[in-house]
């Protein structure tokens, strides 16, 4: 067994529906058992990267994504589905099944893939919900929960099958400070108890740096910096320090690249 959970090499990608390159050759190495943070501005391609790790889009030629020892680009559909049984993913939006109650949402992967008796599945689902503090909401529908609560349900669903590799797309968004601390602790504990590997997309520098082993900083489709939290904090790179401190001034652009502002406003002295 190799000590690498996810190995991404020279990943370039553009969505089939839009002819714009989103990822410009990124390299990411995720050691087994580690918690790795993927950080960076919104629209920089983090969600796209984890979508490709789970094989939701075909990997273009020349790029390689190896997950748990299996090169995604060479797997057929059956192989991909077998690999996905070892993955758990928390979606950014959080993609709960709106026609199922919360408890059934969490039980869904168990019902689909295990032959366990109904009562056991129900108990397991309740235990996962308890871990995210929402056992009392098991009978409610996702639309009756707040955004942060839905995210916690999605988290319970992602861990329902005790996966080897966990992908969390913005697990902390919309959480109050107390929930945030609890969920961060939960992610850390899961990693230790299940022996799994986690990739977290997040914007919360303080909370993330406390639990992760490695940080990758992405900007506009490229990895612009990486290292341990301590290395990132100590980094003299103006880009890294601007991101960590969230300052407005610095080399990182806030605006989407485009035409000249003054020309868009049709000012007389526009170039």
């Amino acid at each position: 067994m190799s000590d690498t959970a996810v190995e991404i090499k020279n990943l370039r990608f553009s969505y089939p529906s839009r002819n714009v390159q989103i990822l410009h050759g990124i390299d990411i190495h995720v050691p087994r058992g580690a918690i790795v943070a993927l950080m960076g501005g919104s629209g920089s391609g983090k969600t796209t990267t984890v979508r490709l790790i789970t094989g939701q889009y075909p990997i273009p030629a020349g790029s390689s994504v190896v997950v748990d020892g299996e090169p995604i680009e060479r797997l057929d559909l059956a192989g991909l589905y077998r690999l996905r049984l070892r993955l758990g993913m928390l979606f950014q939006n959080p993609a709960l099944f709106t026609d199922l109650p919360v408890g059934e949402n969490v039980a869904f992967p168990l019902r689909e893939h295990s032959q366990l008796p109904d009562a056991t599945i129900r108990d397991l689902a309740l235990m996962k919900l308890h871990a995210v503090g929402l056992r009392a909401a098991a009978a409610r529908y996702p639309s009756e929960l707040s955004g942060g609560q839905q995210r916690r349900v999605a988290l319970a669903r992602a861990i329902a099958f005790d996966p080897k590799i966990l992908l969390y797309d913005e697990p902390f968004a919309g959480l109050d400070p107390v929930s945030l601390t609890i969920i961060a602790k939960l992610i850390k504990e899961l990693n230790e108890h299940l022996g799994s590997t986690s990739i977290i997309i997040t914007h919360d520098v303080e909370q993330t740096f406390e639990i992760v082993d490695l940080v990758y900083l992405m900007w506009q489709g490229k990895v612009i910096a990486s290292g341990t939290p301590a290395e990132m904090r100590a980094s003299a790179d103006p880009i890294v320090s601007q991101f960590i401190h969230g300052s407005a001034d610095g080399p990182l652009p806030f605006h989407l690249p485009g035409s000249d502002y003054r020309r868009d406003l049709r000012l007389a002295d526009a170039p």
């Binding site: 979508r51 589905y81 709960l96 689909e112």
Partner: protein, 275 residues
């Protein structure tokens, strides 16, 4: 980056000239052909998954229940009015020829062969198929299908195929219900209201209406309509653009395409069986 010059932000202007004109002519054709191709492929993908989903009949029954209950009230009310109106009309027409004793049979034949399956089909499209398109479109746009795929569950088998089978089962059932209610409506107007002899009404209906021929033709139609309208509804939901407008448009398209196809197929089946 030149698009920004237009004062309308992001809206492209219609180009003039010969080549763009030809392009505008040809594009709808290409689009329609493309639509037929993707629709055929989609149908094939569902068909391949029907055996798998039949292994889990519970999923199908849940959908039969949903789709059926959506259309049932309107099917019953509509059936009653159709029966009342057809009974009244046929009685008026047959009265001119002094043939009112066969009104029961005439109404039954018209309902079984034509009106029952077509009305039930159109109502089913309006009530259940639109709901299918909207819910599939929303599930897809909120990444629920992507979430399923990442959990190694095939959404086509788990969500689409059961709805397809359920639609194909539901419409014949609803058609039979509509027929029964409509006949009751005719009975109410012709026998109870106008005062025709009850024995004549039921007796002639039994004598002149054929189970094989009249009833089976209608049943065959309703099965074909059920298969067709569920496939169209699912296709439009599944291929809807992941926005509110996209789903709205897909729902409209379901009604338009499914209704027109239903009426066209109705003619085709009738003429095939008549020859």
């Amino acid at each position: 980056m030149n698009e920004g010059r237009d004062s309308s932000l992001g809206r492209s202007r219609r180009r003039k000239g010969v080549i763009p004109a030809i392009r505008r002519l040809g594009w709808p054709l290409v689009e329609k052909t493309y639509f037929l191709g993707t629709f055929a492929r989609f149908c094939w993908m569902i068909a391949a998954r029907v055996p798998g989903c039949l292994k889990r009949p519970r999923l199908v029954w849940v959908q039969v229940y949903h789709l059926g209950t959506l259309s049932l009230p309107i099917i019953i009310v509509a059936g009653l009015f159709i029966g009342l109106v057809i009974g009244l009309q046929f009685h008026t027409i047959l009265d001119r020829y002094g043939q009112t004793q066969v009104v029961g049979a005439a109404v039954a034949i018209a309902l079984f062969r034509e009106l029952g399956p077509v009305f039930a089909g159109l109502l089913f499209i309006g009530c259940s198929c639109t709901a299918v398109t909207a819910s599939i479109g929303l599930k897809r746009s909120s990444e629920q299908f992507a979430a399923m795929e990442v959990m190694a569950v095939d959404p086509l088998e788990r969500e689409i195929a059961p709805r397809f089978v359920a639609g194909a089962l539901c419409l014949p059932l609803l058609t039979v219900i509509l027929l029964a209610v409509a006949i009751t409506g005719t009975y109410a107007i012709v026998v109870l209201q106008i005062g025709m002899d009850e024995g004549f009404f039921w007796g002639n209906m039994q004598r002149f209406t054929k189970f094989f021929g009249d009833f089976t033709e209608g049943l065959l139609k309703s099965v074909v309509f059920g298969v067709m309208s569920s496939a169209i509804a699912l296709y439009h939901g599944y291929s809807a653009r992941p926005t509110a407008e996209g789903v709205a448009r897909a729902t409209t398209n379901t009604v338009v395409y499914a209704s027109l196809t239903l009426l066209g197929l109705d003619f085709v089946i009738t003429s095939l069986l008549a020859s």
